[in-house]
């Protein structure tokens, strides 16, 4: 069937045991990110939250601890999937896009058992296809809506505090009077125009969606997959350096690594623990807040 041929584009040259180990490593990373993000948000909004939200944080943490027993993982993910659906219900329609990705992956981990070769392959194909969709449509949406053709979106980003590193980059590549012009506009009616004609700036702006679409398509071809993985890391790193959506970025990185060899994703598991411990310590104030993040 055409459908099977398309999804089989995600397949790697690997044996079932290697695939299983990859998925277990991915499960561990997913759980660390989920718990870390839950507590990171909880520490910001604890006083405002009702009992239900707080209970979700405690239960998801307990479930994550229970996952240390590999045999219990399927039930852990079933429980987490229900909690995720509850959180969706509460926040809909303002739910962040990465929460949809998180919930879908959680659901897939709940219903597909990595001990079964067929189900492990199905999970691998599904997660890799999801990653392709997110990257491809992220680029397509930018192309269709057209706010990158003349630098409009990036010029407007001067208003986002977390885009400060990008502002510093803008100051380097834009003539001083151009930067001053853009920085002088507000958000009130009549502000603007947020249009840029500087060729270097336009190159950067248009590279974003071209890169996203191009790299997504390169993932589908085995010969270009390795280059795509490196390219995606560079692109997402650059985006997250300004957007600072670190939990989405980490989940994205981990899912990209499903396209790579097994030992790569397994090697980063300790790093994921370390990075997220660091983020939680910053939230707790034990380490000074070096940068804002979400």
């Amino acid at each position: 069937m055409i459908r099977d041929r398309i999804f089989s584009l995600m397949d790697q040259d690997e044996d079932s045991n290697t695939r299983r180990l990859k998925i277990y490593a991915y499960q561990t990373i997913f759980l660390v990110l989920l718990v870390s993000e839950n507590w990171s948000v909880a520490l910001l909004y604890w006083e405002e939250w009702g009992a239900a939200h707080k209970l979700v944080v405690y239960v998801s943490s307990a479930l994550a601890l229970a996952s240390l027993r590999i045999r219990w993982r399927k039930n852990v993910f079933i429980g987490l999937a229900f909690l995720q659906l509850f959180m969706h219900w509460e926040s809909f329609p303002l739910t962040g896009n990465h929460k949809y990705l998180q919930t879908i992956i959680c659901g897939l981990l709940a219903i597909l058992d990595p001990e079964s070769d067929d189900e492990a392959q199905l999970f691998h194909r599904a997660a890799c296809w999801l990653l392709f969709l997110v990257l491809f449509y992220s680029g397509l949406q930018k192309l269709v809506h057209g706010y990158y053709f003349e630098g409009q979106f990036l010029a407007f980003s001067l208003w986002r505090r977390t885009f400060l590193p990008f502002h510093q980059f803008m100051q380097v590549i834009l003539p001083a009077e151009e930067f001053t012009r853009l920085a002088s506009y507000g958000r009130a009616p009549g502000a603007g125009p947020y249009l840029v004609s500087n060729p270097v700036f336009l190159f950067v702006s248009n590279s974003v969606y071209i890169g996203e679409i191009g790299l997504a398509l390169m993932l589908l071809v085995r010969r270009t997959r390795r280059f795509a993985i490196v390219g995606i890391f560079g692109l997402v790193f650059a985006i997250e350096a300004v957007a600072r959506e670190l939990y989405f970025g980490q989940l994205f990185f981990a899912t990209v690594l499903l396209y790579a060899r097994a030992d790569v994703i397994r090697k980063i598991v300790p790093w994921v623990f370390g990075v997220n411990l660091f983020l939680i310590l910053m939230r707790l104030g034990i380490i000074p807040l070096l940068f804002e993040f979400s």
Partner: protein, 145 residues
């Protein structure tokens, strides 16, 4: 046992493949809804975050009273409306023109039973793509008790 397992995997395969097909097609519909109905490109799993500068929404609720000179408008501001207003603004911010404020209008008439006619003005502050200018657009919704 082998057949049962195979059937189970095939069933799961069907579920997962159906999900993936829906997720593949949905962003195309999302793009259409953003363009036609002002759906928020950043929400609802269209993967359109950072594609459009984020807009903001403002709401004005006015009571309209008939007088010999015509209709006179007086703004309504009451803490009883804080929650319904906030809820509607969240819905409008995410779902755009798909969300009309009829529920909010009902809340206003329940809080102020003597009112006969109200106008709810929804203002959107957004960047026009071709001019790069921040523009405000309004839509008025008229409701009679």
């Amino acid at each position: 046992m082998g057949t049962k397992l195979k059937k189970s995997v095939t069933g799961k395969e069907r579920v997962v493949h159906t999900l993936l097909i829906i997720l593949t097609c949905w962003p195309l519909l999302h793009i259409f809804l953003v363009k036609q109905f002002d759906l928020n490109a950043w929400k609802l799993a269209g993967w359109g975050m950072y594609s459009v500068p984020l807009h903001s929404i403002r709401l004005e609720i006015t009571q309209l009273v008939k007088s010999p000179q015509g209709w006179t408008a007086s703004p309504i501001s009451d803490s009883r409306l804080n929650e319904p207003v906030s809820k509607y603004m969240d819905l409008r911010f995410a779902l755009g023109k798909l969300m009309e404020p009829s529920g909010l209008a009902r809340s206003v008439f329940e809080a102020f039973p003597t009112m006969d006619r109200i106008n709810i003005r929804v203002s959107k502050l957004a960047m026009d793509r071709s001019s790069g200018m921040i523009e405000e657009s309004h839509v008025d919704f008229l409701y009679d008790e």
